[in-house]
């Protein structure tokens, strides 16, 4: 039986990303374990069971250990972990939320992350995204589920200066979005 090689969907774009200047840096993030949590209501019990306060403010994310917790809806969150295997994370979270009436589903294969860094990040994103990404309203801890160049994405703000954003996109759209981002960044690659 042929051996299946585990490859990153954006492996073929790595060289193109490396040629970009620091003002519009794009890098594919490595795979992380992700679990979709449905739970309502949340409170002290869920915080104690999960070891993290699920953010209840819409369009926010909080760090959780090595990973993140992203608000996806009033009763839905995305938990990520860089240290646990997907099945470990799913089992741990499911054990925690099941007694509270919640559910946890491994969605690690659904999305991959692209990290955008540099002074021109907001200009690049503005070409295909109508959300106000000014750090005044989209500082660290903000997130947004929206469309970027026709692809559904989750944006996570990592800095208060608007120059560090993670874009979570469906794996099957990653190549399209990578091409779109490279094209959007083209005019900024000649900045002196």
């Amino acid at each position: 039986m042929a051996e299946l090689l585990r490859t990153h969907p954006l492996e073929a774009w790595a060289a193109a990303f490396e040629r970009l200047p620091d003002t519009v840096g794009i890098a594919a993030e490595p795979y992380v374990a992700m679990v979709d949590v449905r739970l309502a209501p949340v409170g002290a019990e869920s915080s104690a069971a999960l070891g993290v306060d699920l953010p209840t403010a819409p369009n926010t994310w909080v760090p959780a250990g090595t990973g993140r917790v992203v608000w996806l809806g009033p009763d839905e969150w995305l938990l990520t972990s860089t240290t646990e295997a997907p099945e470990e994370l799913e089992a741990r979270v499911r054990t925690a939320v099941l007694p509270l009436g919640g559910s946890a589903t491994d969605v690690s294969a659904q999305r991959i992350g692209l990290r955008l860094t540099g002074a021109r990040v907001r200009d690049v994103l503005a070409k295909g995204c109508s959300i106000d990404l000014h750090p005044r309203v989209f500082g660290r801890g903000s997130s947004a589920q929206t469309a970027l160049g026709q692809a559904g994405v989750v944006l996570l703000a990592l800095s208060d200066s608007g120059d560090d954003v993670v874009v979570l996109v469906r794996s099957s759209f990653a190549g399209y979005l990578a091409d779109w981002l490279l094209d959007a960044a083209l005019e900024f690659t000649h900045d002196s």
Binding site: P58, N59, L72, G73, P74, E76, S130, I131, A144, Q145, T146, A147, G152
Partner: protein
């Protein structure tokens, strides 16, 4: 493009939303007792209001939650949005 204020996510572009038809159409109390005609009225018959109309909308590209909105069908202007468990606002 018109912005629609999602009750959860705030103002977003119209393309992020999808239409869900008339709001506040109650499911029949005892569906088994309805005649075919009454069932057809429940399934297919909707108001065709000119003016303020209570509608269901879904924020597809965002939080994927359903909500209700009062929209003026002549101007396409959204007058208010409210969550599904909120009562229908009184409109003039």
């Amino acid at each position: 493009m018109q912005l629609i204020a999602c009750p959860w996510c705030g103002p977003r572009e119209e393309v992020e939303f999808s239409y869900g038809g008339q709001a506040h159409v109650p499911y029949p109390d005892s569906p088994a007792e309805l005649s075919d005609e009454e069932w057809a009225h429940y399934v297919f018959f909707r108001d065709n209001t000119k003016g303020r109309f209570a509608e269901r909308w879904n924020h597809n590209a965002g939080c994927r939650r359903w909500f209700n909105a009062i929209r003026d069908t002549t101007t396409y202007r959204f007058e208010s949005v409210y969550r599904l468990d909120d009562p229908k606002p009184v409109t003039p």
